[in-house]
């Protein structure tokens, strides 16, 4: 995609320019050929320059009068003719230029040129976001908070206007493009070194796959965050090395499963996603009969997870008998066809004895209505709902529902976490394998040593974040993890900080102890309070504070005693 605007001007101005030159030439030749009379009555002929001068100010309608001498009648007849000729030619030229400036194609080219310039000058780390909507808007905001810039490609012109009105600072360059082709992605800077990731969260799985394919072939190092709602596509994406594959339904089902088996783990996950603090009530999912209304992509995932638990019985209700996918025998034995909003059906299926009901259809109104009916029939029942449209937020909050799962919010959390805080994403993946006791111990440790809502801090031991540590380690000295916990008020005391994860190349250590040695290139994740975070940054970056933390003495620089 090269800059075409100049060429468009040049090409479209060919004829107007030609008209101006030809009309001028005709008028000038006439003036030069026709004989005039000078001030003394002698015959003379105008020089070419005189004629050019006269025509120039006549054609532009400035009109200085007859120079160098008063014209004769033959000259005047010719001038009358040339006025009509040249003035029309001149206005035609100007008119074409003005209409060109309002030309749609031209304006589009100008915007494209501006976009390319913005990308060229973008020197910070950035991500490419495809499509602008509620979800990607949140991702952009969260990325900006962490100092990660964004570039948007959007199909719909009005959405781009929404983005402009949003007034992001620093600005988010946006390109209007019908397709997401190779050239468009190149224009958005996917080949740049500082392009960190590309985010493609379309409903259309095939489109996501295509974009992953293009992105991976253009730049192997760029991370791809992509949404997938079916098993088949997830596998295809894995084959293409897409790093961040988000399936909101599988996340929801594993969250429900987590809440059943290890509620404390669920609590930690909510804290990592900044959705709740560590003192929040434990989400208690009772054991017994679960009714799932709507057996689509989400219902299927939940069923798979719940069915593995021995002391949980599951009943499924699906309204559409002729769904494309065929049901297995196991599914058929749990499945009832019918309208889940129908009281009789709910009673028949055993709503009075059920402990929980899940409304997982893709229609918000239906979901709310099912739960309202269920509550009437069994006031004790626990309600779980899928919220499809973020615009319905208020309705769901007022509906007195126990657990609301919003796929779009989950996508936002998952993607931003993986892009902006990669270590906490790794941490999350690791702890899912742990059990409830481990989680409750970790929670009580965090609450005891820090507070109920610790901050997360992740960094790499490198020149950028920790120059002092790097320099010290490069001299073949040894440092332990405990240096990061040192209080700068009194080096014998410790700050409120807990190490959560240490990544050394491909080795991952969960909750490493303070006695661990650190090396250049280690990636660390801490939970801490604001004060400890401040001290840690000082230790990593300030020569004097680092010396104090290391030795407990003030560093002397003026009266140095070696």
């Amino acid at each position: 995609m090269r800059n075409n605007s100049l060429f468009i001007i040049l090409q479209k101005m060919r004829i107007p320019f030609l008209v101006i030159i030809i009309t001028y030439t005709i008028a000038i030749i006439g003036l030069v050929l026709i004989q005039g009379i000078d001030a003394n009555g002698n015959p003379y002929k105008m020089s070419i320059f005189d004629a050019f001068y006269f025509i120039s100010y006549t054609a532009t309608t400035i009109g200085f009068g007859e120079t160098p001498f008063t014209f004769t009648y033959p000259q005047r007849i010719w001038v009358t003719f040339s006025i009509y000729l040249t003035v029309l030619g001149w206005f035609y030229g100007i008119g074409s230029l003005v209409s060109l400036l309002q030309d749609k194609l031209f304006i589009q080219e100008m915007q494209k040129a501006k976009f390319l310039r913005q990308i060229k000058n973008l020197n910070e780390k950035f991500i490419i976001v495809l499509g602008y909507n509620q979800i990607t808007k949140k991702i952009i905001i969260k990325a900006l908070e962490q100092g990660l810039r964004s570039v948007v490609i959007e199909r719909d012109k009005s959405r781009i206007n929404d983005l402009i009105l949003e007034n992001f600072t620093p600005t988010v360059p946006a390109l209007n493009s019908e397709t997401y082709s190779v050239r468009v992605l190149e224009a958005a800077g996917i080949n740049k070194k500082n392009c960190k990731a590309i985010v493609s969260l379309f409903e259309d799985d095939a489109l996501n796959l295509k974009i992953t394919l293009i992105a991976k072939s253009l730049n192997k190092n760029v991370k791809v965050a992509v949404k997938s709602t079916t098993k088949n596509h997830t596998e295809n994406l894995k084959d293409l090395d897409a790093q961040i594959i988000v399936n909101p339904f599988s996340i929801i089902s594993s969250e429900i499963n987590m809440a059943l088996i290890a509620p404390n783990l669920f609590k930690i996950e909510k804290w990592l996603y900044k959705l709740g603090n560590l003192n929040a009530n434990l989400p208690l999912f009772p054991k017994g009969l679960y009714i799932i209304c709507g057996y689509g992509r989400m219902g299927k995932k939940i069923f798979e997870k719940l069915n593995d638990n021995s002391n949980i019985e599951v009943k499924l209700i699906e309204i559409n008998k002729n769904k494309d996918n065929e049901f297995t025998k196991n599914e058929i034995s749990h499945l009832v066809f019918g309208d889940a909003d129908d009281k009789e059906l709910l009673v028949n299926i055993g709503i009075k004895d059920a402990v929980a009901i899940v409304a997982a259809t893709n229609d918000d109104t239906t979901n709310l209505s099912i739960l309202a009916t269920a509550k009437k029939l069994n006031p004790e029942i626990m309600t779980i709902v899928r919220e499809n449209d973020l615009a319905d937020d208020l309705l769901f909050k007022n509906a007195n529902i126990d657990h609301i799962f919003t796929p779009s919010k989950i996508v936002v959390n998952k993607v931003t976490n993986a892009l902006v805080n990669p270590l906490s994403d790794i941490f999350l993946k690791q702890i899912i394998k742990k059990d409830n006791i481990w989680a409750s111990e970790l929670i009580s440790k965090l609450v005891r040593e820090i507070d109920e809502n610790p901050l997360l801090l992740e960094f790499e031991i490198g020149e950028f974040f920790a120059p002092e540590i790097c320099e010290y380690l490069a001299n073949k000295e040894i440092l332990f993890l405990s240096i990061f916990a040192t209080s700068l008020y009194n080096h014998t005391q410790k700050n409120n900080i807990v190490p959560l994860l240490l990544q050394r190349e491909n080795d991952i250590m969960l909750t490493p102890s303070w006695e661990n040695e650190i090396k250049i290139g280690d990636k660390l994740l801490f939970a801490c309070d604001a004060h400890a975070k401040n001290d840690l940054e000082y230790i990593c970056q300030n020569n004097y504070e680092f010396y104090y933390a290391l030795t407990g003495k003030e560093k002397l620089t003026i009266f140095k005693r070696n």
Binding site: I8, L10, Q11, K12, R14, I21, V32, I48
Partner: protein, 125 residues
């Protein structure tokens, strides 16, 4: 036959021939160089330049560049001549200057014609 090619070829070659017509003759006598021919050369050169505008190919840009060179040289020659008439008067040095400037323009025009003919020979249609 392509009418576009006929028109642009006509003007490119005409600008060279006119330029040559003006340049040909004794270097320092004004009688052998017609001012009307210079005027015609300038006009035809300008038209040839405009016909080359907006061509995005590699050859098109080189052709445009040669044309711009010729324009600048010829307009400079005309300007010097005009200024001389109304101030110092036209002597043999001024004529020499004007003619040598048009000689430079002629070289640019020859380059342009050579490129143009070369492109035509290469073309398969």
């Amino acid at each position: 036959m392509n009418l576009d090619k006929v028109i642009s070829g006509f003007f490119i070659i005409l600008s060279m021939t006119l330029n040559f017509g003006f340049f040909y003759g004794d270097m320092h006598t004004i009688e052998s160089h017609s001012k009307y021919e210079l005027f015609a050369a300038i006009v035809v050169n300008l038209i040839a330049t405009i016909l080359k505008l907006g061509d995005k190919t590699q050859l098109g840009s080189v052709l445009l560049a040669t044309s711009l060179v010729a324009d600048i040289q010829l307009i400079a020659a005309a300007t010097i001549w005009t200024v001389a008439i109304y101030s110092s008067g036209v002597d043999s040095t001024i004529v020499g200057m004007v003619v040598s400037l048009s000689g430079g323009a002629l070289l640019a025009n020859i380059t342009s014609v050579v490129l143009y003919v070369g492109d035509t020979i290469k073309s398969k249609r």
